[in-house]
């Protein structure tokens, strides 16, 4: 059984939803703590959303130095799966595990609503359950979600097909469009091999049919579909 760890930082949110989504797809959820110095042998590690360390200084800037991040970095370097959701994405960028940065939303508003996102890559560790080009509707909730990168980094991201999710504008009035003025409508990216993925939307918040949709469950199903990384 695939073991998937979820790290709780001071100020994390939705770690419970994430653990339940993992259990729902037949994975073994493993709780991890920011002060842990080992990943307890998990195959994949997820950094959840929230406001770690109050987002002081910058979102994710302090969490990246947590003790747990040393084994996360080693796991990532060995080709192990790492997923960052929302604040987790911000932490991965601050840690240098993904390129670019996430800064204040273009409109300055905190945005909490559903968005339509297009699956740009269906071969990353957390999008295998979807089809390339498929548009799914899942929620975002963030104040610092505008993805930016230097021109060189951006070219490398696009040339390397490292965009995993893009905001799909205009499909539905209540969910369309880029909610934060992210560069090139980027909602999620991965490293060159697709083993490290960061995304602003919260798939775990829409991962049970009792909520009216479980459009986000595919992110977790994908982990189980994937061959277990040799971690």
């Amino acid at each position: 059984m695939l073991r998937v760890g979820v790290v709780t930082f001071p100020g994390s949110n939705c770690e419970g939803e994430t653990l339940r989504a993992i259990a729902r797809v037949g994975g073994e959820p493993v709780e991890l703590w920011h002060q842990d110095t080992s990943l307890k042998g998990v195959d994949v590690v997820i950094l959840p959303g929230g406001f770690s360390y109050g987002d002081y200084l910058r979102s994710g800037a302090i969490a990246r130095f947590s003790p747990i991040m040393d084994p996360v970095r080693e796991h990532a370097a060995d080709g192990g799966g790492v997923i960052g959701i929302c604040n987790g994405f911000q932490i991965l960028c601050e840690a240098g595990l993904l390129p670019g940065a996430l800064v204040r939303n273009g409109g300055l508003h905190y945005v909490s609503r559903p968005v339509d996102v297009r699956i740009e890559r269906s071969d990353s560790i957390c999008t295998r359950a979807y089809h390339q080009g498929e548009v799914i509707r899942i929620p975002v909730a963030h104040g610092d979600g505008r993805f930016v990168a230097s021109a060189d980094e951006l070219a490398a991201i696009e040339d390397g097909d490292q965009v995993v999710l893009r905001y799909a504008g205009g499909r539905m009035l209540d969910a369309g469009g880029n909610p934060n003025e992210a560069t090139s409508d980027i909602a999620g990216i991965c490293n060159a091999t697709g083993t490290i993925v960061g995304m602003m939307p919260h798939p775990e918040r829409l991962a049970h049919p009792a909520l009216g949709s479980d459009a986000g469950i595919g992110v977790f199903q994908s982990l189980v579909l994937s061959p277990a990384p040799a971690a």
Partner: protein, 83 residues
């Protein structure tokens, strides 16, 4: 070792969209302060820092900026020691 009062200023990189700076600029204009342009919001960080010399303290403060206080992708910083 001497203790130096170090002032770090972190600003959004020039050319990068700064919506907070724009919002303040609009508010200043709305209040009637004409001619205020190119407004940007950054962070000021002050600390007492031990160092063998002023140059040493500045070098250590710059290392702090590289690792934690500023984001190399989106921000620029300056370091000054108070006289």
């Amino acid at each position: 070792m001497k203790t130096y009062r170090v002032h770090v200023r972190v600003m959004p990189r020039a050319g990068l969209l700064d919506p907070a700076g724009q919002a303040v600029e609009h508010a200043l204009t709305a209040l009637g302060f004409a001619g205020a342009t190119n407004v940007h919001l950054g962070k000021a960080i002050a600390l007492d820092l031990e160092g063998a010399s002023e140059a040493d303290a500045i070098a250590r403060a710059r290392a702090m900026c590289d690792r934690l206080l500023a984001n190399p992708v989106t921000e620029d910083f300056t370091v000054e020691v108070a006289a």
